[in-house]
């Protein structure tokens, strides 16, 4: 109950930050940017507290419920956004990432009443590491997709015949492109390692026999193939420009289905 209340406050903070980031983008007002940072950092601190409270109250890993998994995903996105916001000066990403994190928190709140799986195996460090690696790689994919959305927007502004000075408010194309590439390059090893841990556990008898055809397994593999193809094409054929960024946005939508489609046999025994 307290977790749900704390998450509601976090949701409010992230939504407020989203509005402030949007206002900064529209008005180029540095005051809004500073306010957005204070608000989302406060929200993030509360978010950390809320996840901690959940673990302490239920003596369970946050991944033992959909509520916890969604919350940790949003938390990972914001956590990874902090260094990007501060060191790489890409506040425009905040106006896309904050609504996305808010959507995850909202989803978490909606599912806060669902039962917590009392599964001892979910408490295993090995399984937790598997989930953590996958979720963090997905958070990095989400950030890359935010860069891609900004890129596509900026590309359109720079290309359309009725050129206006709006392009001044968005980050440079090459900076966004390079950031997206680096995020994917960081995320792929994490995802590969996370999936490898899952496969090892499944092969050692952790999952039922039909785990290969489980929607979560298929989606994870699809995401791996999609982003792996992006990296390969980028390095060997110079795959860049708007098409490559559309692929990154598609990748995000494919990743999101993982949270929407229920798993058939993806329950550890």
């Amino acid at each position: 109950m307290i977790s749900a209340i704390l998450h509601s406050i976090v949701l409010f903070a992230y939504l407020t930050a989203a509005v402030l980031y949007g206002a900064n983008l529209a008005l180029k007002d540095p005051k809004r940017l500073i306010q957005a940072r204070y608000v989302y950092l406060t929200g993030f601190a509360l978010h950390t507290l809320a996840i901690g409270h959940f673990c302490v109250t239920y003596h369970q890993s946050p991944f033992s419920s959909a509520f916890g998994s969604l919350s940790v995903s949003a938390w990972a996105m914001v956590l990874l956004f902090i260094p990007i916001d501060y060191f790489y000066k890409l506040p425009a990403l905040g106006s896309i990432l904050m609504p996305l994190s808010s959507a995850f928190i909202f989803g978490a709140i909606l599912r806060s009443d669902e039962a917590i799986r009392q599964n001892p195996e979910i408490q295993e460090h090995f399984i937790n590491l598997h989930i953590m690696l996958v979720l963090f790689s997905f958070a990095l994919f989400a950030l890359a997709a935010c860069c891609a959305i900004c890129y596509l927007w900026q590309y359109r502004l720079l290309k359309r015949p009725n050129r206006k000075a709006m392009f001044l408010r968005l980050p440079p194309l090459e900076k966004l492109d390079s950031m997206a590439l680096h995020l994917i390059a960081f995320a792929m090893p994490l995802l590969t390692l996370g999936l490898a841990f899952g496969v090892i556990k499944a092969l050692s008898g952790g999952l039922k026999g039909d785990w290969i055809w489980d929607p979560h397994t298929i989606i994870s593999f699809l995401v791996w193939v999609l982003y792996g193809s992006y990296l390969l094409l980028r390095n060997f054929t110079g795959f860049r420009g708007p098409k490559s960024h559309i692929l990154l946005v598609v990748g995000l939508f494919v990743s999101l289905t993982l949270f929407m489609i229920p798993s058939g046999s993806h329950h550890f025994r």
């Binding site: 050129r163 392009f167 001044l168 090459e174 110079g238 420009g241």
Partner: protein, 425 residues
């Protein structure tokens, strides 16, 4: 009517020697001349300044009198702050004026023609100018086609430090645009022209390298920015050729500026992925949009100016209390010292430590006694109600039996005046 840099010290020296002027500075740019002066009597200041301008430039006053404007008090202060913020510039928000205000301040400082008040005034003007540019978008974007090209290049590549520029045609416009890009960090410059000697000459000017005109298609494969302004009567770069080039570049973006008339680059080439093609009309449209966008910022800048004017005027008025406050402090310190001396004579056996304690207690006592009256006096002095501040300052002088001082700041009779003249450059 402008004051050349080499004659500015002389002008400041002449002006500051005038008996009716206690502090002065001159802001002289290509399209404005402003004299900022502090005077104990404002009545004849305007005539004095006109006389100075007339004598210094050897021009009859009647010739320029109608072009002058004269502000006093807070209006003069507000005007200087507007100038520093770029609100009074021909191109709204242009950045050069803030540097010129700084230079004018530095010149007055070095000529020792300004004192405490104008020093504070210029510092506040610079603060207002800086705030206008950092807290609003008044200085955002470009001010010319060259600026627009830089903004576009930066929106594509970010930093231009590693960007390479290929210039096709050694015309004046290419040179101007390239200069803007170079001043933003671009270092690798290649120039190609049908007449190779002209390419060599421009390359030398820009610190780049001249290449043979026939070699430019090869250079296109690595260039980030292409500026084309040849006098060719037909397209020198066609869509098909550029599409092939982009394939060879493996999608690496290229920014092309076609400033030639007739055009050098086939307009349809702008549809090629990762090729950003702009002509002179596009750049002019962007500049006009930037200027239009800045007009929305004027209100915000005016609010900043208003805040800074209030702050400055309060500080300026508070200087009225300074002589009385210092007299009051001196009087209480003197009384404290006299009492301590008397006590030392009456109690010779007390230890040094005891005296330290007594001294500290008396110091604390005098500070506490004077704290409230000094606070009230400063408050009254900075208030905008002249009658109130004089009643209280006069009363304080009477109550504490303070002697009258001749060198007191007297804003009532002082005038911070600003005579300006707009002269087309």
């Amino acid at each position: 009517m402008s004051f050349p840099e080499n004659r500015l010290p002389e002008a400041l020296s002449v002006l500051s020697r005038h008996p009716s002027i206690s502090e002065c500075a001159i802001l002289s740019t290509c399209n404005r001349t402003e004299i900022i002066a502090l005077s104990p009597q404002s009545d004849f200041l305007e005539d004095h300044l006109i006389c100075f301008l007339s004598e210094f430039h050897n021009i009859q006053p009647d010739i320029f009198r109608s072009h002058l404007y004269f502000h006093t008090g807070s209006i003069a202060v507000s005007h200087l702050f507007s100038v520093a913020a770029g609100l009074d510039s021909m191109v709204l928000g242009e950045p050069q004026i803030l540097k010129q205000v700084r230079d004018s301040f530095a010149a007055a400082l070095s000529a020792q023609s300004i004192g405490r008040v104008l020093n504070g005034l210029f510092r506040s003007a610079i603060t207002a100018g800086k705030r206008a540019r950092t807290e609003t978008q008044i200085g955002a974007g470009g001010f010319s086609v060259g600026h627009a090209a830089v903004e576009l290049a930066q929106s594509i590549f970010g930093s231009l430090n590693n960007a390479s520029i290929l210039i096709l045609g050694a015309g004046k416009m290419s040179e101007l645009t390239a200069n803007h890009l170079i001043s933003s960090g671009a270092k690798l410059i290649f120039v190609a022209n049908r007449t190779h000697e002209r390419a060599v000459s421009l390359a030398e000017k820009l610190g780049g390298k001249a290449i043979r005109y026939d070699d430019f298609p090869e250079k296109l494969l690595s260039a980030d920015i292409v500026i084309s302004s040849t006098s060719s009567p037909h397209f020198i770069l066609r869509k098909d050729g550029l599409a092939q080039m982009m394939r060879k570049r493996r999608g690496k973006p290229v920014f092309m500026i076609d400033i030639a008339l007739p055009r050098d680059i086939e307009p349809e080439a702008g549809n090629i992925e990762n090729l950003f093609l702009y002509d002179i009309d596009d750049l002019e449209e962007i500049v006009s949009d930037m200027v239009h966008g800045r007009e929305f910022e004027v209100q915000k800048v005016e609010r900043i100016i208003e805040e800074e004017v209030i702050k400055f005027m309060n500080w300026w008025r508070s200087l009225n209390a300074a002589p009385i406050v210092s007299q009051l402090q001196r009087k209480h310190n003197r009384l404290k010292e006299e009492e301590l001396a008397r006590l030392r004579r009456q109690l010779p056996d007390l230890s040094e430590h005891s005296w330290e304690c007594i001294e500290s207690a008396m110091k604390s006592l005098t500070t506490k006694i004077t704290r409230d009256p000094i606070g009230r006096l400063k408050e009254a002095a900075s208030a905008d109600e002249t009658s109130k501040q004089y009643t209280l300052l006069d009363a304080a002088q009477e109550i504490f039996a303070l002697p009258e001082e001749n060198d007191s700041f007297d804003t009532h009779s002082q005038s911070c005046a600003n005579t300006s003249e707009d002269v087309e450059s």
